[in-house]
């Protein structure tokens, strides 16, 4: 898994470096160091770092032990993505309430009353904090359920 992660970074680094060499000039029109100077150094260093690390990891390759909690981590991460999606559709308070209800029904099973209380209470507190007290923008959503 670590090898795969480093390989992904290597691919991104290769693309970054290609772009730095192909699209960004080393010198500016005034003859000074241009916008491509620093990215080229960073890109090349990143590729060298990733290749050396990959080579080292492949030599001493050990099996990655996977936690038994990986499923719940995926569920929480997916629900967090749904929260962000819901923020832009349903607006802040409703999305927060539904997210809390959904997540707590998975993590805190059997405690319906507690889950409902937290799911209603938290959005109200955050709405009052951000929207009313701090006057910060809260997503209103396509449905416009928040102001």
């Amino acid at each position: 898994m670590r090898v795969a992660f480093t390989a992904v970074i290597l691919c991104a680094a290769a693309f970054y470096t290609y772009w730095a060499f192909a699209e960004l000039s080393f010198l500016s029109s005034a003859g000074r160091l241009g916008p491509g100077f620093f990215p080229r150094i960073i890109g090349v260093a990143l590729i060298i770092g990733c290749v050396l690390t990959l080579a080292g990891d492949l030599r001493t390759r050990e099996g990655d032990a996977v936690s038994s909690y990986w499923r719940i981590t995926v569920v929480v991460a997916s629900l967090s993505a749904v929260l962000i999606l819901a923020l832009s559709v349903l607006g802040g308070p409703l999305a927060m309430g539904l997210y809390m209800l959904g997540t707590l029904s998975v993590l805190n099973r059997g405690k319906v009353l507690q889950n409902v209380a937290v799911s209603v209470g938290l959005p109200i507190v955050l709405f009052l904090l951000f929207d009313v007290w701090l006057n910060a923008s809260m997503p209103s959503g396509i449905l416009g359920l928040s102001r």
Partner: protein
């Protein structure tokens, strides 16, 4: 006399009712951040930064700085009562703190830890007061070569000293530098890596990245470790103890430890990259090596708790010196603080103390008051924080995820930045899982533009010659100090592993 006049000015700023209120809020929030295991001050400051946007700049920074140093106090409570460090810098406090609690001495341990934190923090602030003006004076002679070297020193030290493998740290730092190059090149006006997106013209915003890497990434990792499945059943019931206050022998036994821990902590704190974790472990290791009965360490010795506590608080104060006087953060937490300063239009550096004395001295004065408030909170509000410890992680974590999302959105009202925060969270999770360093990414993201600008200016001055870095006396000193730190890093790491 100037020093007292400056401090007096600072006190007059810090003692306004509004700033005192923000200081207290910051202290409380920092304590809470500290007691949540796996949730450090970097995450706390990053997540709460959006809340400060409607506030007065000095009040906002006073509050965010209070979160930073209060987290050290909070992390100790879980170390002593739960054998779980709330913060990496309080790992050493579990070695003797928890055994003391098991022996029925949780009360004295909590009080002594709070007082040691107070002494360490206050000695640290006194040393900031004395040394910061001197540092500023010296730094006024710095030019682009010195600033580039300082930025590299901060990052290199962090990479070498923190994390299991320096190779992953280097890659992490380079990723941060790469992210820092996105946006318009300020010298030529050319767009870099924006791919036609208007959202990227101003560069990658620091807040979504910091909240994602430190906040969301840490939370996902906590789920992966199964923290949500563990209850809060292991808390030591200190209320049932016969004696809450320490005995006279506790004071006598630890008086030298207090001073030693504070000084070690401050010196380590000033070194970029070293930080409070190394300071506390080093202090523990030294106390053990100078003790008459080292075999008692790990079984409930007050000196084994007091030394690391004084050290980690003094270190967090020490880390403010390079931040305030050079504008160079030495850790992830101070990098987040630097970002907060910049957001408020305050540029830390040699001129900060002369150009913005109200801010600089107000912040320093607030640290004296903050430490005083925190020692009282730590002794008299322990039941409140213990009650918070009983909130199950499975309820707390989703609430913090909501706060991360809403906090990120509220900065610019941008759902794209909220998605960026989510992606940073996923990346942060994998980085933590595979031993990479999210702290190095954030530090490099903050230092990257500064380092690039300084490097380009330096090479323009020297007409492309890198020899300039070893031609100027100050540059030579910085190179020498960096090399010395890098060479002593293995020694510090050995101390760290010996203590652990």
């Amino acid at each position: 006399m100037d020093l007292f006049a400056d401090l007096w000015l600072g006190m007059s700023v810090a003692l306004t009712p509004t700033n005192l209120l923000f200081l207290m809020i910051g202290a409380m929030v920092g304590m809470i951040v500290g007691i949540i295991p796996g949730f450090g001050p970097s995450a706390g400051i990053a997540i709460l930064m959006p809340l400060t946007f409607g506030m007065d700049p000095i009040g906002a920074v006073v509050m965010l700085a209070a979160i930073y140093y209060a987290a050290m106090y909070g992390g100790t409570i879980t170390s002593i009562l739960l054998n779980t460090p709330g913060e990496s810098a309080t790992v050493a406090s579990t070695f003797d703190g928890y055994p003391l609690a098991q022996q029925g001495r949780a009360g004295p341990a909590l009080v002594m830890a709070a007082l040691a934190s107070f002494v360490g923090g206050t000695i640290g602030v006194v040393l900031i007061t004395l040394l910061a003006p001197l540092f500023s004076q010296v730094a006024r002679g710095f030019g682009p070569p010195e600033y580039f070297l300082l930025a590299m020193m901060g990052l290199l030290c962090l990479v070498v000293m923190v994390g299991s493998d320096w190779r992953y740290g280097v890659i992490s730092g380079l990723i941060g530098f790469a992210l820092g190059t996105v946006g318009v090149d300020l010298e030529t006006g050319q767009q870099r890596f924006t791919f036609g997106s208007a959202e990227l013209i101003d560069g990658i915003d620091f807040i979504p990245i910091a909240i994602g890497l430190f906040g969301l990434g840490e939370l996902f990792y906590a789920f992966y470790e199964g923290r949500h499945a563990s209850g809060s059943g292991g808390i030591v019931q200190y209320q049932e103890e016969r004696r809450f206050w320490p005995e006279v022998r506790d004071w006598i036994e630890t008086r030298v430890t207090l001073a030693r821990g504070s000084l070690i902590g401050f010196v380590i704190g000033v070194i970029p990259g070293a930080g409070a974790t190394i300071a506390s472990l080093l202090s523990y290791s030294i106390e053990k090596s100078v003790a008459k009965q080292p075999e008692r360490f790990g079984k409930g010795v007050m000196a084994g708790l007091v030394g690391p506590e004084a050290a980690n608080n003094a270190a967090s104060a020490g880390a403010m010196v390079p931040l305030l006087t050079l504008g160079i953060p030495g850790s992830a937490s101070t990098a987040v603080l630097l970002a907060a300063f910049l957001l408020w239009g305050l540029r830390p550096g040699p001129l900060l103390m002369s150009q913005n004395p109200e801010f600089a001295w107000g912040l320093i004065a607030s640290m004296y008051l903050g430490n005083l408030a925190l020692v009282l909170l730590n002794i008299f509000a322990i039941p409140v924080f213990v009650a918070m410890l009983r909130v199950p992680y499975r309820i707390l974590a989703p609430a913090v995820i909501v706060l991360c999302a809403i906090g990120t959105y509220s900065v610019n009202g941008s759902i794209i930045e909220t998605w960026l925060m989510f992606i940073a969270g996923i990346v942060g999770f994998f980085m933590k899982l595979f031993g990479f360093s999210p702290a190095a990414v954030v530090l490099a993201l903050v230092l990257g533009p500064l380092a690039e600008e300084a490097l380009r200016q330096t090479l323009t001055i020297s007409r492309g010659s890198f020899a300039i870095f070893i031609q100027r006396p100050v540059s030579i000193w910085i190179v020498a100090i960096t090399l010395a730190i890098l060479l002593t890093a293995p020694l510090l790491r050995r101390f760290q592993s010996r203590a652990a």
